[in-house]
């Protein structure tokens, strides 16, 4: 097998290290059995309650809670078997110089088991990929190796261009010579070797379309930028690649996403890690990543015009809209103060109120709920009183949520406060619609120059 593939060194090293890690863990089980101990695996819990935010390192990490998975426990025998099976499949693939996808792992392990127990009606080792994915995560946590390090592939989504050369496999790739296309960030970004580059910072664009526009416009060449897109929710490879650019090359990383709670969350995944998969954050997150835009204050400025403050149709029917708007603004200012915002409120918007009329989208209830999830229900109440959800009975309720600590900084509170005040969101495409030139020559450079970002 290895005869006709010229394996590069990085690949070989990763294989050997991963194999060693797996073997060590699972030979311990064999040891236990030989010593007549009931075999058990100790795995860090991948539960929300065991997900800890480390404010110093600004990372989501797995805590120290552990679960003991025992073969001789009726409820765990099956997952125990699945864990061992998954480990063996990965190990064998590594040994055979293969690069399975997670779907491959599912198929390789799936087979029928003998029918011995009327109580346990499962026919196969696993029935759905959900099951094999879950134990794959357990193997990652157990061995402290990410799937990328175990050379397991996934769909490539992220792309990169810029004045940079890197080695992938046995090839040198020049990221400045990709034409109108871009280099697809490989599933195993740890095997990439940075050869040389010339860049001042990294710009990660959430939207693929905006990435393409900036690329064609020559933005990266002109501004000495490594331009990356995650094309939506970032996959692990893109996150790991961005992290390496920041950590190893010391390049500042700026994230450009929609101005809405969803865009904020994407930034958070790059920066802090994903909540459900916190065990990978240590290697995937980029704690120093900055949210460049689009911010709410980019759209509205700090001083939201009274007539752009949102009032519900009901409110406008019952009360005096003018008076209501004034009250809301006052509450907004008071809440900011109460929640610890000390800066001046003097930022000018990048858009005129006329432009806003054209580009702004009204937030949906779902967006509001997501925002409450980010900052927590206490912050929401400070801004908006009680009214979030109008239930059928006419009662208003807010879902309880502690919020994420990193969104509870005054700067973020101000941004999300403006969102609550205006019930508006803005997609990056809208900024581009105002003119690509505006985006590339005015908005982005000015934001970077004046350090107008959040982190």
């Amino acid at each position: 097998m290895s005869g006709n593939v010229i394996q590069d060194k990085a690949d070989q090293r990763a294989r050997e290290e991963s194999m060693k890690a797996i073997r060590e863990i699972f030979l311990k089980l064999v040891e236990q059995i030989k010593n007549k101990e009931e075999p058990s695996l100790v795995i860090k819990k991948r539960t929300l309650s065991n997900t800890i935010y480390d404010p110093k390192r600004k990372l989501l990490l797995l805590g120290n809670q552990k679960l003991v998975r025992k073969l001789f426990d009726e409820s765990e025998a099956r997952t125990f078997m699945q864990t061992v099976l998954m480990a063996r499949i990965i190990y064998e693939a590594l040994k055979n110089n293969e690069y399975p996808t997670i779907r491959d792992l599912f198929y390789r392990g799936k087979h029928t088991l003998p029918y011995t127990s009327p109580r346990d009606r499962f026919k196969n080792t696993w029935e759905e990929q959900k099951e094999s994915d879950a134990v794959l995560r357990d193997v990652e946590v157990l061995t402290n190796k990410l799937r990328e390090e175990m050379l397991i592939l996934s769909k490539e989504k992220g792309k990169v261009v810029g004045d940079m050369r890197l080695r992938s496999g046995n090839d040198i790739i020049d990221l400045s010579k990709m034409g109108h296309g871009a280099y697809a960030i490989e599933s195993t970004p740890d095997l990439i070797e940075f050869v040389d580059y010339s860049a001042d910072y990294v710009l990660v664009v959430e939207k693929d379309a905006v990435f393409q526009q900036l690329h064609r416009y020559g933005y990266w060449r002109k501004n000495k930028v490594i331009l990356v897109t995650s094309a939506g929710q970032p996959d692990r490879a893109t996150r790991r690649f961005v992290r390496r650019l920041n950590e190893e090359l010391k390049l500042p990383v700026y994230i450009l996403a929609d101005s809405d709670p969803y865009g904020f969350y994407i930034y958070s995944v790059f920066k802090i890690g994903s909540i459900t998969l916190s065990y990978e954050s240590e290697r995937l997150a980029t704690p120093k990543a900055r949210f460049l835009g689009v911010t709410m204050s980019d759209v509205f400025g700090d001083d939201v015009p009274l007539n752009e403050i949102y009032i519900t149709p009901e409110e406008s029917r019952i009360g005096n809209p003018e008076k209501l708007r004034r009250e809301k603004k006052e509450r907004f200012l008071k809440a900011l103060k109460d929640l610890g915002y000390k800066g001046k409120l003097s930022k000018e918007p990048f858009m005129t109120s006329e432009e806003r009329k054209n580009f702004i989208i009204r937030a949906k209830e779902q967006d509001l709920e997501r925002a409450v999830e980010l900052v927590g229900d206490k912050v929401y109440k400070a801004f908006a009183g009680e009214q979030l959800k109008t239930t059928r009975s006419g009662k208003k309720s807010v879902k309880k949520s502690p919020g994420y600590q990193w969104f509870q900084e005054p700067k973020w509170i101000k941004e999300i406060g403006i969102f609550f005040l205006t019930h508006s969101k803005l997609e990056i495409e809208a900024m581009a619609s105002k003119g690509l030139k505006f985006l590339a020559e005015e908005y982005l450079p000015k934001k970077i120059e004046t350090k107008d970002y959040l982190d």
Binding site: V30, K36, L48, L71, V84, K155, I275, T276
Partner: protein, 574 residues
């Protein structure tokens, strides 16, 4: 006008009286009459055997003998009992209210009525005489009588008699009665159920039942056989004197009539149990009667004050020697044998009394195995009306199965599944079927009506029945707990066995690095299987938990974080 009346007067004989009121004795319909006739003779046979220490062997045959009268049935019952002295035979079967059982001890027959009622019922419709062969153990001959009852005189009319010398040691009685009846499924059920239930509490008896096929004539007769499975007999009842609390004024007079010349103190001491010198004096002092008075000289008034004095005196509870409980062992043997149940148990409570009458309650329980298919038709009918857990009640009074009026019986009111916590306290499943046997033995069973098919809710009795049923139910629960635990353990082992080979194979890969997996895998598998067995065994040996069975629910698997990710999915499908 009154003087010129033509009204004629005559005395009615007991035979005629009882024949006119034959419903009281159970002869209500053609079906019930056949059942009742079989019962009377069959019970006489058991009284003539087990009460006297003989292992019974009783054959009951029903046949059509008269081709011209297809509704005439001849019932033949043969036993190996003590027989009847030849001189007594005509009276025993030809005179209503003639009996050897007017004694204070527990027998099935008690009133000297049964056989005669059957004979009267038979002869009045068919005109056919009754036939009997009998021989006592000490007799060298077998005697034969063919007789009818003269209803107007309450006298036997002997039509034929005969005797033969006995060559073998045979003793016993064969009776033969022809009556007009009906052979239907109903009749057959009554008799079969009765015999089956008797077989349950008399596993020491051979019972043979030969009956016409219900399909019609020409078919082979059907034979049902309950074989003797033990030679253990219940201890026979002893004759006792009455307990003072149990007598009424009339009985007191009768007792005096038996001992007219005794002085009062002697009379009391000799006629009653639990009355010694002191008690006798105490009673007589209360009644203000001189202990030396002759019994026959008491005036009506003195009799009344004597009766009152007795009622006002405290006595030791009545002796239970006159009772003959079946016993725990025999109940268990019978239930097991006849119902082929997986689990049986029984309890015989200590003797108690009510109103001067001693009684003993016994209960048995049967569960699982072939119980359901071996239950009798009447029990199955009762199950149909229930909601579950299903309770098949087998009621007995003085060893006689009670087949009718189940819902009116105090036993039903205690043990039916709406009243009794079979499910909650005793852990039966909704679909479970359990057979519960209750036997009340007493010198006076408090029946609810003249039909004698259900027992009245006398408080002392009710308490005992409840305690007995609770006790057997509790034992069933202990059994079920153990059994379920065992099943749990077995199922657990099966579950481990499902996954062990897979685990062994995969782990072996790490041991051999992919080479020669078989050996390594087999050895790991052996080790793991051993471990699994040890584990399960250890669990079985844990001390029993008697009161609680916790159904094993699979714990909910560790949940992943529940905060919804705003993204649709972070995991690719490929």
């Amino acid at each position: 006008m009154a003087e010129t009346t033509n009204e004629s007067f005559r005395q009615m004989s007991p035979a005629e009286f009882f024949y006119r009121n034959k419903e009281i004795a159970g002869f209500t319909s053609a079906s019930r009459a056949m059942y009742q006739a079989v019962r009377e003779f069959f019970e006489n046979s058991l009284d003539a055997t087990e009460v006297h220490g003989i292992l019974p062997r009783v054959t009951v045959q029903i046949s059509r003998e008269d081709p011209n009268n297809p509704d005439f049935f001849t019932i033949t019952v043969e036993d190996n009992g003590i027989g009847i002295p030849s001189t007594v035979i005509p009276d025993a079967f030809g005179r209503v209210l003639f009996s050897s059982k007017y004694k204070l001890r527990q027998t099935r027959g008690m009133y000297g009525l049964g056989a005669k009622m059957a004979i009267l019922y038979g002869q009045q419709n068919t005109g056919k005489p009754f036939e009997i062969f009998s021989s006592t153990p000490s007799s060298k001959k077998v005697y034969y009588y063919k007789l009818m009852i003269r209803m107007d005189k309450n006298e036997p009319l002997v039509l034929e008699e005969g005797e033969w010398p006995k060559s073998s040691g045979w003793h016993g009685t064969i009776v033969k009665l022809t009556l007009e009846g009906e052979w239907s499924k109903r009749t057959k059920d009554y008799i079969s159920v009765y015999l089956k239930r008797t077989a349950i509490i008399a596993p020491y008896a051979d019972i043979i039942f030969i009956s016409p096929s219900i399909e019609g004539e020409g078919k082979e007769p059907e034979i049902t056989l309950y074989r003797r499975v033990t030679t253990k007999l219940p201890a026979p009842p002893k004759e006792t004197k009455p307990h003072p609390i149990g007598v009424d004024l009339e009985m007191l007079k009768m007792m005096i009539a038996e001992r007219p010349s005794a002085n009062m103190k002697d009379f009391l001491m000799r006629s009653f149990q639990r009355v010694g010198e002191k008690k006798a004096e105490e009673i007589l002092e209360k009644a203000k009667i001189d202990p030396r008075r002759r019994a026959s000289t008491l005036t009506e008034k003195e009799l009344e004050s004597l009766y009152k004095a007795i009622k006002d005196t405290k006595f030791i509870a009545p002796s239970s020697e006159s009772l003959s409980p079946i016993g725990e062992d025999l109940i268990k043997i019978g239930l097991k044998e006849v119902l082929q149940a997986e689990f049986v148990d029984a309890v015989t409570r200590k003797p108690k009394s009510y109103g001067g009458h001693p009684f003993i309650v016994e209960a048995g329980i049967a569960y699982g195995g072939k119980l359901l298919e071996n239950l009798d038709e009447i029990a199955k009918d009762s199950l149909k009306g229930q909601q579950g857990p299903y309770v098949a009640l087998l009621r007995y009074a003085n060893k006689i199965p009670l087949l009718f009026d189940e819902k009116a019986d105090v036993i039903w009111s205690i043990a039916n599944s709406e009243e009794f916590s079979w499910k909650t306290t005793y852990k039966l499943e909704q679909t479970d079927v359990v057979a519960v046997l209750v036997h009340v033995a007493s010198t006076k069973v408090p029946y609810k009506g003249v039909g004698k098919e259900s027992i009245a809710p006398v408080e002392e009795l009710r308490k005992e029945i409840e305690a007995a049923v609770q006790e057997v139910a509790r034992r069933l629960r202990v059994y079920l707990t153990k059994k379920r635990k065992k099943q749990e353990a077995q199922e657990k082992l099966r579950l481990f066995m499902k996954y062990i080979p897979e685990i062994a194979q995969n782990l072996a890969y790490f041991v051999t690095d992919g080479k020669e997996l078989r050996e390594a895998s087999k050895s790991l598998e052996r080790e793991l299987l051993e471990m699994a067995k040890r584990k399960v065994r250890a669990q079985l040996e844990q001390p029993e938990e008697l009161t609680h069975i916790v159904p094993v629910a699979l714990p909910v698997a560790e949940q992943e974080g529940s905060i919804e990710d705003p993204s649709t999915s972070e995991e690719e499908e490929e």
